[in-house]
Symmetry: C2
């Protein structure tokens, strides 16, 4: 069944008259048209029994039509009242929609108020967030093929990053160089800002790539990915420059054990929380539990951070087709940071990673 | 007065007990800590008479403290209930806040519900969007200096883009090359995806940079910018490759006249709507009105698209310190697209652009 038909069926089951889909990722997933309208209004209006339509800024209408969406696309000019136009188009499909579904995790309060203003007696209490999450949760073979392709290019980015390691070269130069090599192949978007962090700087797990230069006898953390055909990759590797001390070696070893244990344990039947615990236990038993300050992983697909979270409190049972990261990290402020990450998809009896760069500690002797 | 004090005073005037600030740009503006928490929770809690605090994911706490914010920063771990923690911290400052201000244009419905759930008898009806917009609308000298610096680098990007023009080279290669040159100087973020569009492709004003190759006798549109010290630049130029036909020359001439007329007219006292009309009239009188399908401009500062919109219906009177783009465009489907853009700040008697790349038609004879 086409994804849009699946959503229509679901609206009928829920007794909804209309759905206002606002998340550009969801719109892309359902229509094939991926675009970030920034502050402009873009929405997909879906009804159980009548034709859905896409509503976009006027300057996106042609692109939306060209993306393979075969239902109507209506545009609006900047000075027009987008919500009045949406309401007029809706009323042609459903005379008086009462029960609406919205994406509560995306729709802003001000836009909900504008929509309510057009349909003053309607109810906007139904949240479609988890419906959409469920639809997007299990990836099709086609989606997994795209994730594998994106993963292949993430491995390429790592390889280019490793080639670029030089004493005295800055984190930023290395990131710029590896992104340039990627873009030369026509892949124009990274999944997020490429992270290259050397030495103690890597103990800031979400710190930015800086002008700090690569030194001898330290760890360098890479966290990067790219977008291919709409789908994201995300991989982390930490490598050694010169000779590591005992502590540096130990945290690498513990982090790798945690990553491998979790990747081994990831299979249908285990819950997200249990999987987090597999990695966390390894790190805690080694005495570094307090330095692993984030969840084990996050879903990925069209977005580089999506449902499900692999963390304490998430009792979701993993099933074939679910895709997420396995990325334990140990960050000791002022000393060093290590993170090792592959994103995987659950198979019938285990999991397969999208990235394949070797995880054994790689050491670079630089001059 | 520090910006946070200004907001506190404003909350007191409005009779509010607390404000929940959720837009990362606003948080950056008020605290000096700029970070995109992606799907995690980040908020700034402000009260009229007690100390504000920043609430961030645990892994951002150190960075927030290091960014110069001198009030408390509280973190949360992924498995913790962020809103329960926020509520506990709030109650230490204000026993029972009733009237809340929120950013309706940023806060999602689901997060508002979570906040309401913690304060079931409180009211969340006050929108601070326009208060914040007003604060951010008039840029300080310090902000204008940063915008000038960002503009200087946008001119650099254009120059590198022009150097890279070659017959048979793709739009994507040119974009990758000019971004690489920028990043080599340590400027790691573009304001948005660099746009290089050749020939008829440029008639899709928000189309992406593609693998289309540069040909002779066509126009090539560049729209690009970068982020320096948190502030954005944004500039567009359209250049000629080889010999243009009469139509191509005419639309360039008309677009340039419109841009120059608006830049000349931009001064204190004129409204945003009137300024839009100055450019639109030039294009309409030349017979191309239907091909100028977007507003004249948008504000810029910390964000590359912010308040105010320079468009029909916006009666805002321009004042010194306001910063926005002046970017008329003429897009004839299947033929060509032209856009010419400078961002400016209003001065006491006119405006000054942040970018200075010449706007007279530049022609490249390529082999």
């Amino acid at each position: 069944m086409a994804k849009i038909d699946e959503l229509q069926t679901c609206l009928a089951h829920k007794g909804l008259d209309a759905a206002y889909i606002s998340d550009p990722m969801t719109i892309g997933y359902l229509t094939g048209f991926y675009e970030d309208p920034i502050e402009r209004v873009m929405a997909l209006l879906v009804f159980p029994d009548s034709e859905p339509f896409l509503f976009t800024p006027a300057l996106e209408v042609e692109a939306a039509k060209g993306a393979g969406w075969t239902h109507p696309v209506y545009g609006y000019l900047d000075h027009e009242d987008a919500y009045a136009l949406i309401a007029a188009h809706v009323k042609k499909q459903v005379t008086e929609p009462v029960n609406w579904g919205i994406e509560q995790n995306h729709l802003t309060v001000s836009r909900l108020l504008k929509l309510q203003n057009q349909f003053p007696s309607a109810k906007f209490n139904t949240d479609l967030t988890s419906t959409i999450e469920q639809m997007r949760l299990i990836k099709s073979d086609d989606e997994i093929a795209k994730l594998n392709e994106a993963g292949k290019w993430a491995d390429f980015m790592l390889e280019e990053g490793f080639k670029n390691l030089q004493l005295g070269r800055s984190e930023q130069e290395i990131a710029a160089n590896l992104e340039y090599e990627l873009k030369k192949h026509g892949i124009m978007h990274t999944s997020f800002d490429t992270l290259v962090q050397a030495g103690a700087h890597a103990a800031e797990p979400h710190g930015a790539t800086s002008q700090r230069k690569i030194n001898n006898n330290e760890l360098v953390l890479f966290d990067l990915g790219c977008v291919v055909d709409g789908y994201c990759s995300d991989v982390s590797r930490t490598v050694a420059i010169g000779t590591l001390n005992k502590k540096q070696k130990e945290i690498y070893k513990v982090c790798l054990e945690a990553q491998l244990a979790a990747q081994e344990a990831a299979k249908p039947g285990i819950t997200a929380e249990e999987l987090d615990k597999v990695a966390r236990d390894v790190i805690s038993k080694a005495g570094y539990g307090e330095y692993f300050i984030h969840r084990l992983g996050h879903g990925l697909g069209l977005s580089d951070h999506e449902f499900p979270s692999i963390m304490e409190g998430n009792h979701l049972v993993l099933q074939p087709g679910m895709c997420f990261s396995i990325e334990p990290g140990i960050y000791i402020p002022g000393i060093a940071g290590v993170r090792i990450e592959d994103c995987v998809h659950i198979t019938s009896d285990g999991c397969e990673p999208f990235t394949h760069t070797n995880k054994a500690l790689k050491t670079f002797e630089l001059m």
